[in-house]
Each structure stands twice: as C-alpha cells, then as structure tokens.
Symmetry: C2
Amino acid sequence: MIAKKCGKQSVKFSTPVKIISTYSIVGQKEGNGNFKDYFDYILKDDKFGEDTFEHAERKLIEHAIIHGIERAHLNIQDIDLMLAGDLLNQITSSSFTARKLNATFVGLYGACSTMAESLAVGACMVDGGFFKNVVCATGSHFSSAERQYRFPLELGNQRPPTSQWTVTGAGCAILSADGPNDCNKIYSATFGKVVDYGVTDVNNMGAAMAPAACSTLIAHFEDMHTKPEDYDLILTGDLGKLGSELLIDLMEHNGYKLGRNYSDCGQMMYNDNQKTFQGGSGAGCSASVLNSYVMRKLSEGSIKRVLFLATGALLSSTSAQQGDSIPGICHAVEIRRE
Amino acid sequence: MIAKKCGKQSVKFSTPVKIISTYSIVGQKEGNGNFKDYFDYILKDDKFGEDTFEHAERKLIEHAIIHGIERAHLNIQDIDLMLAGDLLNQITSSSFTARKLNATFVGLYGACSTMAESLAVGACMVDGGFFKNVVCATGSHFSSAERQYRFPLELGNQRPPTSQWTVTGAGCAILSADGPNDCNKIYSATFGKVVDYGVTDVNNMGAAMAPAACSTLIAHFEDMHTKPEDYDLILTGDLGKLGSELLIDLMEHNGYKLGRNYSDCGQMMYNDNQKTFQGGSGAGCSASVLNSYVMRKLSEGSIKRVLFLATGALLSSTSAQQGDSIPGICHAVEIRRE
C-alpha cells in the first residue's frame, strides 16, 4: 500500500517513517539559553576554528550530519540521500557539506522552514521506497546571516525591538526504512503555501511568517481532521515572541484556540537576560530545538504527539531593496512516539 | 507495487510518470538562436514590461507555469504541488511565483540543474502517490544573473572566451498521475553527488560542471545497466562548448564513448553569429530547450528515449570571494515515448 495524499496539502505515510538518529550543535549564546541541557555540542568559539563565519556555518552543518550518522551506527556510505538547505546565498553551507560527505544531494531552499521541509520531503522519499537512509539537515549562523541580510557586525548597528536573534546552530535527523521499532516516527506532513500579508519590515520576521504558520496549521487540522487539543505539543519554528502571539490571534480569528500545548522554538531559545528582543530565529533555531529537546521529550515518553511547524521568510536583500513585501512559508511534520 | 531504488543513486518508477504538458519562454537573443521555431513564447522586451530584471525573471517563470497549466487543461487550483527554484539569492523568482499562484510549494536549489532536480523529485512525489498534479519549473535571466554573480551590465565589463551567456528564459513541465497514456513519460531518475575538481574560475562554468555530469552519467549507466548507445539522445544542460568537450574526454577516460547521440543545450542554444563564446548557461537554458525542442521531438516520435542531465554550479559570490573552488552537481531524468 502506498501513502495517500490527505486533503489539500497533507500526506499521511503508509508506514510511519523512523527517525533513527538526531544531533544538535549550537553556539555559545544558545548554549547559555533555555535548552543548554539538551544540545549535543556547544561551541566554545563562534568561528568553530574557521577563518570566516560562512565557513563556520558550513562546519556546523557538517558536524551535525557526521555525528548524526555516527549516532545511527551508520557510515557515511550508508546514506542514500542528503536533503539540506540553509540561509546563505546559493545554500553554500549545505552544498559544500554534501561535497565533503560525497553524498547524493537534493538542495532545498525554504529559509528557516528548511528543517520541516527536509523532513517532509525525506519522509516521502523513504515511504515511497525511493531511498532507505536519508539525512535531513539545516543550520544558520548569527554573524553570517547578519552580514548577508542586514549589516556586517563591524558596523555596530542597533537592533530594533521587533528583531530576533539568528541562532548559531545546526540540526540533523536521519530517516530510515530500517532500524528499531521503538523510535520517534513521522506520521504525516503538511506542505505549505506561500503567504504574504504585506509586511515589509525586514526587522520583523515574526509578523511576516505568522500568517504562513496560520495557513499551514489550519490546512493540517482540516486535512487530518484533527484539532489543537489532539497534540501534546504544537511547536512553531521561529516566530519569536511577537510572531507567536500574532499566530495565536490569527488562529483565534479562524476559530482555533491554541492553548498551553502551543509553543515556539524562537520564543523559548534564550532566557530574558540574553537581550535578544523577540527571541531566536534562523534555520538553526528550530533545527537545533527539534533535534535535541523535542526528540528527547518524545523518547522519554513525556510527550507522545508533536506537530512541528518550521516557518520561513522568503525574502532576499534584493527583493527587500526593490520594495517587495516578505512572503512566508511554513511546512509541518507530525512526529509521534507510541 | 512501489518504485524501487536502483543501484546507488537512481530510482526506476513503478509506473512511468506522465508529463502532461510543457511550456517554454525565452528572451529575444534566444529567440534568434537555433531553437527559435520550437519555443512557445519569445519576448519582445527583455524586461517583459517590468521595472527590474529580477521582476522580469519572476514574470518569466510565472508565465511559463500559468501557460503550462492552461495547456494541460487544468486550473491553478488543480495543482497539488509546485517544485521550483532559480539562480537568484533565496530563489525569490520561484517563491514569489508560488505566492502569486497560491501554490503548495517546495523550494529547491540546484542552480542550473533545477529543471532535472524538480522533475526527479516531482516524479517521486507522483509515483509515490503523494501528489497528483505537480508543476516543475525554473528559469533565469541574463541581466539579473550578471548583476548578481559577476558585474552589473552598466559597467560594460568584457567577457572572457571561456564564458557562457546566461539564458533569459524559463520552462515548465506538469507531471500527473492522470492524463492520456500517449505522452512523454519519466522512466527513471538519477540524483547527483556534489563533485569538485578544484576549478576556481567563475567565468568557466563548463569546466566546473563537467565532472559532475560525468559522475551522474556513469552512476546512471551503472545503476540502470545501460550504455550510451541505448539512448536516442543524451542531453546535458549547460556545459557549453568547452564543458561538453571536457565531458566527452572525461567519459572516455572512464571507458564510455559518447557518440553523435550526445549533445548539450548550452552548446546548441545560440548560433555562431551570436557571439556568446561557449554558448548558453543558466537554469533557463536546459529548462527552455527540454520543454520545447526535446519534448516536441519525443512527441513527434523522431526520438524515443532521452537522458536529460541538467548541470549546476553550486558557488555563490561569497564562496568565490572567500577562495572556495566551484562544486558542481548534475541530476538526470530518463524520458521516453513509446
């Protein structure tokens, strides 16, 4: 039996897809935040021994994948497909990692939604019988993102109160058609539409992405015939404090009440003394939280059903300079432990 | 029965995936080239009525997709998934098109390999039963690519003899689980590895990408137990004249003789009077040739079995400035008419 498309945007897998291993790595600031006891590796040096921030970002993703593969008791040669992307122009962090690993590679671009995008596509690849062991990964680096999207750090620009702090970190999950039965599994995925409410402030990503999260969340509930209370945890990627409040409002306007089981990786990442304003963002934000805290909570059995929604802002500095508003996207995967 | 992975990098579809419609659009220069009688639409104005080259590129992809959908006698609402990417930073041409079409969207990044990447992933999505009607598309624009990767045209820089001319153009193919039986179909796909022979000259993309084409071509032959003579046409994406000669050499070193059935979209795109040095490049190069000339030749029955390999150079201007060499990738799809 093959998987069937459910409703408009969702896929329910015929055999839930096994997540046989995960790994997370973050920078120092993240390592001092709320999830410090869950991350697998915390950098001592934000450049990770490299000469540039871009090379450091690349090494973060490499490290996460290599250790994820090790933890799955596999060799790099056992990996059939690598699905990854990142925020840097032309996703060089991911492509150069694929070069190093000599991996069969499908490059993705979903901005900060990449962790969910890669898991959703990866689960299709495994469930469809196309590939057996699939690496899904992404990451980001505060300093390379600031330089590319806003200003080089050397300029010392002030950050506005709506801004979020791009997480220095990476996460990796390995999906497999094999492996033990008692592991976290992907039951369904909802692919997102591009949604744009006309936000043009590049320092307010939460507002730009919240409508996309709302769209995908509603699509998921409708397609899967579920409601918010059915999940132990509904977790968005990096809407931050303001963005996640906007999402709660938007959902309420659409007749869905998000309760105490709703949270956001960006909002939770840092503690209040860390002065990040709205919290964390970046592809590494949801990737590092999902592949540490969330996976551990599922493995321990303290939660059993998670809806993970990673959100992405699909702008470029050129599109912003040319006056375009900021489109958002959000992909979702449902992960369960039974 | 579900599809099975063949060999290391290839997938053979359980039911060949139908290509129910294709569409191509190109700029004036391309419209004066060797395929002028095959393209569906030739621009009269390279800006396509838009204010910037980037907006023109976006409109090219939009136009190709909208007309591809029309030609398939579908409505935009009938499209279940859009797979696209492009060369611009953060693939804004594709994302903003997905916004306009309100399409469920998976963003890809494979540089100039995107047409084959989207077809390969799309065929998996259809064959796996996940989505019924899938749009695969990409495009590029000479002027936006020059501005982003090299120099703005206004500077009047000279082009070196190894350079290629980024094609202004876009192509779209619609895959479906439904539709008439007598159409061109995707039989198999080979996903590429990232290959890098250390080329650092950003004006010699053909040399940077030829090793990736060689790698994927060999993987395809080995995985599918075929040889060059089994295909009526083996067509690479945009290696250009120099790059395709390098590929012929590389293949010969590996024991494969590419004969008269081998050609390259970039090499064929322009005529000798058009002064493009090595020929065409860009994601729109192979996309526009595949979705016009190649599909028509298949439909007419003058060729029956095509191996389409689109090649991509995975550099960014930052990676080039930081001294990194240029990794290449190549994805392949086998298209047949019976």
